[in-house]
Amino acid sequence: MIDLAFIAERYNYWIFIVLMMIGVYIVISRGNLVKKIVGLNIFQTSVFIYYISIGKVAGGTAPILPAAYESGHEGKGARASAAHGESAPAPGAASGESLHAAPQSAPEALPANDLASAVAQTPQGAGPSGEAGLHAAPGEAANPLLAPPDGAGDAASALGEAAHKAAEIVYSNPLPHVLILTAIVVGVATTAVGLALAVRIREAYGTIEEDELEAADDIAEFGAAFGEKAEGARA
């Protein structure tokens, strides 16, 4: 049964997937080199959209460094967290030493993360878990990834209400955007190089159609286009 709402909620991922397919399809199917580069760009763009999508986190907050870290790292720590940001709220429930450490040891110290733990308890969070990572609703982007924290049950239920509220807060993680800016630079550079090459190829061959290029190369090498002269060449 198709859950239309489920699909509709994830429209941005569908755009990403469709664009990606279109891009790859163009690369595969078009013989014209410039068209290939166009396809490549579409493909890359789809990835940008994906990154931007995952930058939007429901229930997340700007990372605030825990005291323990702060004491050790002073200002640096704060800067660091700002740089890398807080994407999905604390999936690392199991890894105590990380910044995203689950709060089971000291829930009251990290309210933000408590929220995350609480979210993990919600039925929606548990539902799609394990079967639709890519299709996760934006609001629950992180949820399917969460294993229910073992020891945090009590604290979570105590804070259940707050968690529900917090889940509706949409937080924009800047890091993916930063990443994607870098990727865009790379993409533009690639496109430029590709187009420049296309120009040079046209100068050298007089065409930018793939079939013709291959035929030209084969004729230069074997005296015939591919497949026409498999017999003669062996002798």
Partner: protein, 500 residues
Amino acid sequence: MNLMAQLPVLPVVIPFVAGALALLLPKGRAPWAWATFVSWLSFLASALLLREVAATGPVSYHLGDWPPPWGIEYRIDLANAIVLALVSGIAAAVAPFAYESVRAEIDERQSPYFYAAFLICVSGLLGVTATGDAFNIFVFLEISSLSTYALVAMGGRQDRRALTAAFTYLVMGTLGATFFVIGVGLLYHATGTLNLADLHLKLAGQHNRVVEAGFAFILVGIGLKLAMFPMHLWLPNAYAYAPSAVSAFLAATATKVAVYVLVRFFYSVFGLDFAFLGDALTYVLLPLGVAGMFVASLIAVFQHDVKRMLAYSSVGQIGYMLLGLSFGTREGLAAALIHLVNHGLMKGALFLAVACVVYRLGDHRCAAFSGLARRMPVTTWAFVLSGLSLIGVPGTVGFVSKWYLLEASFAAGHAWAAFMIVASSLIAVLYVGRVVELMLLREPPEQGPLSEPVKEAPLSMLIPMWALVAANLYFGLRTEFTAGFAEQAAAALMTVSGGR
């Protein structure tokens, strides 16, 4: 500032900065001298780093003093220290060699650009190796790739096919890099971190589609970059038509770095606790590796063009590394790492020998090699020795690789794989033997442009080439720097990944 403290970043930063500076240098000898100097410097730094890592264990460097996992970390353990040394070492050998070769093959006006691209490429490859940050890997991968496209395209003056090869490479490389970046994005999605070590910790116990998809994308993305068998099609042309020195450098380093990235992601990031990793090893790497070993080697046998032949051989040799990886054992991993280094050495030497021939005869088709022993004996013997190394004759690095691969096969209980390896080596005997026979036993061509009398290649080319040949022989007999380190590195990686 203590220079030694900055050591981990130096091999990357020096060529990067120097590459930019090279653009400003006048045409002619200066850019070359600069590039040579810089590549040596970077090699020195890598070597020191290797020594330090070997002595004291992994070194971590925090870029801009931001501690991981927030900041970008350069984390050098034995595995990447070896690769760093290999890449910078090959660069150090190719750079002095390049002067004559490049002068002959590339418009002199382009020389600053050439060396700039070369240095940036070196920097990119070293960066991929040194960094401990997933997205940083992508960035450096693209830096090196972009400069590589340009370098390959510079072969267009000799042969217009270089242009199309560069274009193909560009499309495929971009595709691969984009897949990789999607994979990284998925992992980030799942964990919220980009630091490799941190990723490993956060991924532990996560069995869901996001991670699985991320794994698949990374596998395919890197697979493209390292020319895994059915995705290798960009490689032969790119290596065949690039300027000779570029071919030598790329063949010895680019795919190796990609293999290293694969190793890093498999063992340092995912780890053998993930069932899909085991499956990927068994059902993707193993068959594709074996297929590559045979198909590419067989294609190499029939090539008329020695550079293309060597390029196909590279694809086959990558099959060995994948096979080694696919065992999922410490021995297999060690064998893959050893072959990674050793193959760099032998392919580098072989391509340099071809470059010498191209320098004198302007051709890299088989016909040019006919009777070469009479015309260019020093080059011929360099080719023969490194060819033997490629085959895996004892006393050469190729043998050490083969030995470890065989041992790994037996240790993993895949006795059949051992026979696959040796069977594929025998195909190597065919394609190497074909050229060797041409060189040693045939007469030089009697007419046509190739028949003109030629001298031996200049010393500036012979010395680097023979340095690599000597490395082939030295590391074939003394293996503590290659096999010894690789075994330790493999042991460390396996500890992290939870394998045995």
